[in-house]
Symmetry: C2
Subunit: 197 residues, 2 copies
């Protein structure tokens, strides 16, 4: 069994029932493919919803335009979701290649790389959503104790679209968290046999 | 080999070199113990630093008191760090019991439980830090586009202590992320043998 030209056949696999493990591997890989495609789509939608969001408000003669660059947390949300979408596209492609080739097991360095990248991606999206949701909460509810006003009272349409962006990002994040658990599974099951250490 | 009275001996372990795997298990368990103790201590320090933080400011005749309950993200930071500290205390106790008993391998339901709880805890701390760091950034730098003022100009001492709390929480979070990778390892290596499915 080879993967991207560098094949390993970890520890004890060969000894067991090959058909059983292959069937499970196929299911895991299919789940990974679906979830990575979902992350790609949802993160892209989130980034586009926030990045294209604008609203113009005229107060007497003053013309004010709200856009996502007015708030750093929204810029971060767009960037992180953009990166997650691009990363997931590459990973989806890798999954498809793996399925077409019929390779079942990863080699360890690649499994470590994918595991680490998935972890970084999942935690980055969670942090970006935390920050963006906090900003959205301030904008929607204000913070009377420190006299921060409810900006959403002025820019209702803008806030609604940002909310949709955050919702899409939350779905992308949930998928990414499951994907990162799958890549942890793909990596650490290689470490069961003593020879593999 | 038994763990908390419910023992399993996963798939292929018995076949390999027992001494090697036991030595590695001891190292992994020791690392887990140290990291869980670190999470417990650091999260407790973070919660206490933020929860005990107050500053009184007198502006002419008006007396204003800043406290962590003025900002919901700080309340969330205190709660999440408190929960993480308590959870890590229980887990540290479990690690010590495991080491004293000399049990090496988990049973699967327990490994799943610990893995899931660790994941939830790690992502919760990351989200709480994201939100608190965003609030701190608004308080320190303001957000001129939406006319939110720099609260830290007024409550400098209060902001510094919150910053220390967030820093302690970041360290707790980093340890928790490594712990959650260790528990993923402890769980998924049980799935290498085909019998184990």
């Amino acid at each position: 069994m080879s993967y991207l030209g560098v094949g390993v056949s970890p520890g004890k696999y060969a000894a067991g029932s090959k058909n059983d493990s292959k069937a499970i591997d196929r299911k895991v890989r299919l789940a990974e493919l679906i979830l990575r495609t979902a992350v790609c789509g949802l993160a892209l939608v989130a980034a586009l919803l926030v990045a294209t969001d604008t609203q113009v408000k005229e107060i007497f003669t003053i013309r004010k335009k709200a856009k996502f660059t007015d708030m750093k947390s929204l810029v971060m949300l767009v960037v992180v979701n953009g990166v997650a979408a691009a990363y997931s596209l590459v990973q989806t492609f890798r999954c498809v290649v793996g399925m077409v080739r019929g390779s079942v097991l990863f080699n360890k360095p690649l499994a470590w790389l994918i595991f680490s990248a998935d972890q970084v991606m999942a935690y980055m999206i969670v942090a970006a959503i935390g920050a963006a949701a906090q900003s959205a909460a301030f904008a929607k509810l204000g913070e009377p104790q420190v006299e921060w006003m409810k900006v959403c009272d002025m820019y209702g349409k803008f806030c609604t679209q940002v909310g949709e962006g955050i919702a899409s990002s939350v779905l992308a994040c949930a998928s990414m968290i499951i994907v990162s658990a799958i890549s942890a599974f793909s990596l650490f099951r290689l470490y069961a046999g003593n020879k593999a250490w």
